[in-house]
Symmetry: C2
Subunit: 233 residues, 2 copies
DNA sequence: TTCGTCATGTAATGGGTTACATGATTAC
DNA sequence: GTAATCATGTAACCCATTACATGACGAA
């Protein structure tokens, strides 16, 4: 009933900070831009939007369904090419206090930033996060994973004999995944450290949009054939 | 109120099939043997056990708290070294119909076997699963992941320009993880195919305990220093 | 005697999904 | 005209967690 989600709330605020949107579009962005990890349904999104409005972090703008009329249509098509005025219903916009709240969330470190459920979404908004916070979050997550690795290794050492090959293989693959993420984090941390050029190093403002050696990283195969599929993966 | 979980239920039946246990021990096994992926709390385990009893798949044996008495203690310590009679309270045991039910679950293929939430636990009990089913599950999961990869690539091709470097890096890492799991599955499928020696290929019975080249796979570093830590990772 | 672990449970809450209901607009 | 997609929402449920309550045992 209360809808004070955490991840969803954070992501909604973050996306709306970039630009106002209506619910449907918001959901698509949620499930593509950020969506490798989580997929949200309307059943959670719309109620969440409502409570965010109630708290004064968002405003609703009811854009009347606007039937396609005389010259207006031509104007719209000619000027915007597409999207802008299509047929939207309720546009949500971040308020000043909403922005303030989001910035406070952004600045928080601690377990709530690097546990499994939160880390992904925090990383997704690193572009709007100060370098100090980014560092703390990356390092926090890494040490969390290293801790987990230690326990896995200890547990494996204790139980190895009792386990059959499949269970063992599952364990091994799981550990390898965690080790891989640790290496990834280490690279990212290195990038952050190296990348201390530009502005002396305060907090927010128009944040730096590029980090470390991002450009030199292998960018993966060239674009798959155009596929009209959308929505959840 | 109803506790008909799926994953938890499956795991409990599977563990109890190997040997009877009480709840506390069950939970530890859940969170180590199978626990890279999920950790369950007592709040879910105990109610689950109750409903499994109600459905006739489990029996409860109330083992009286048994205060340490005269010779019995010595006997126990001498014979079992530890564990066996320590202080257990309620031992759960799989019934015949419970075993039957579990075997039916084991034989099921379809999305419910290879989606994210279920695949791990299904794999963990591959030691008790027939080769045909193992193959279907592995192949099902692989094609599911390939499907997902296709969507990710398409979506990336559509949105690449609009995304900042961190979002892009997150996307890239996510795709790499999926690709890695696909390669892992491919290796496993190869192992399964190659490993058609031994018994002609019926169904269950005392199931084959080894698969493919499991022995030759790099088994990862040698045992971490003994660590008394337990419980959830 | 106090702390850690073993051991079992319940009530409240959380954070989400599914299925449903509704309807406008666009593309074929 | 009909199918797909855009668009918004609600109610019922699901699966789990957290916090709490309770208590015995072993070791320092």
């Amino acid at each position: 009933m209360s809808r004070r989600s955490g991840v969803l709330e954070f992501a909604v605020l973050g996306l709306l900070r970039e630009s106002p949107m209506h619910g449907y579009e918001l959901r698509k962005r949620l499930n593509t831009s950020l969506g490798v990890f989580r997929a949200f349904s309307y059943g959670s999104l719309y109620p969440c939007l409502k409570t965010l409005v109630q708290r004064g972090w968002l405003t609703e703008e009811h854009e009347p369904a606007r039937p396609p009329q005389q010259s207006e249509r031509l104007e719209r098509d000619a000027l915007t090419g597409s999207l802008t005025g299509r047929r939207a219903k309720i546009v949500y916009r971040l308020t000043a206090s909403g922005r303030e709240h989001f910035e406070e969330l952004l600045s928080q470190t601690g377990p709530d930033a690097w546990e499994d459920e939160h880390f992904g979404v925090r990383f997704a908004f690193f572009g709007q996060t100060s370098r100090e916070v980014r560092m703390r979050v990356l390092e926090g997550r890494r040490s969390r994973l290293e801790e987990r690795l230690a326990k896995m290794r200890a547990s494996l050492a204790r139980t190895r004999e009792r386990l059959d090959d499949y269970t063992l293989e599952l364990q091994r693959h799981g550990m390898e995944s965690v080790e891989r993420e640790v290496r990834w984090l280490t690279e990212l941390i290195e990038s952050e450290r190296t990348g201390r050029d530009r502005e002396a190093g305060t907090d927010s403002g128009p944040p730096p949009r590029r980090f470390g050696d991002a450009g030199t990283r292998p960018r993966h195969r060239g674009a798959a054939p155009p596929d009209p599929s959308e929505d959840t993966a």
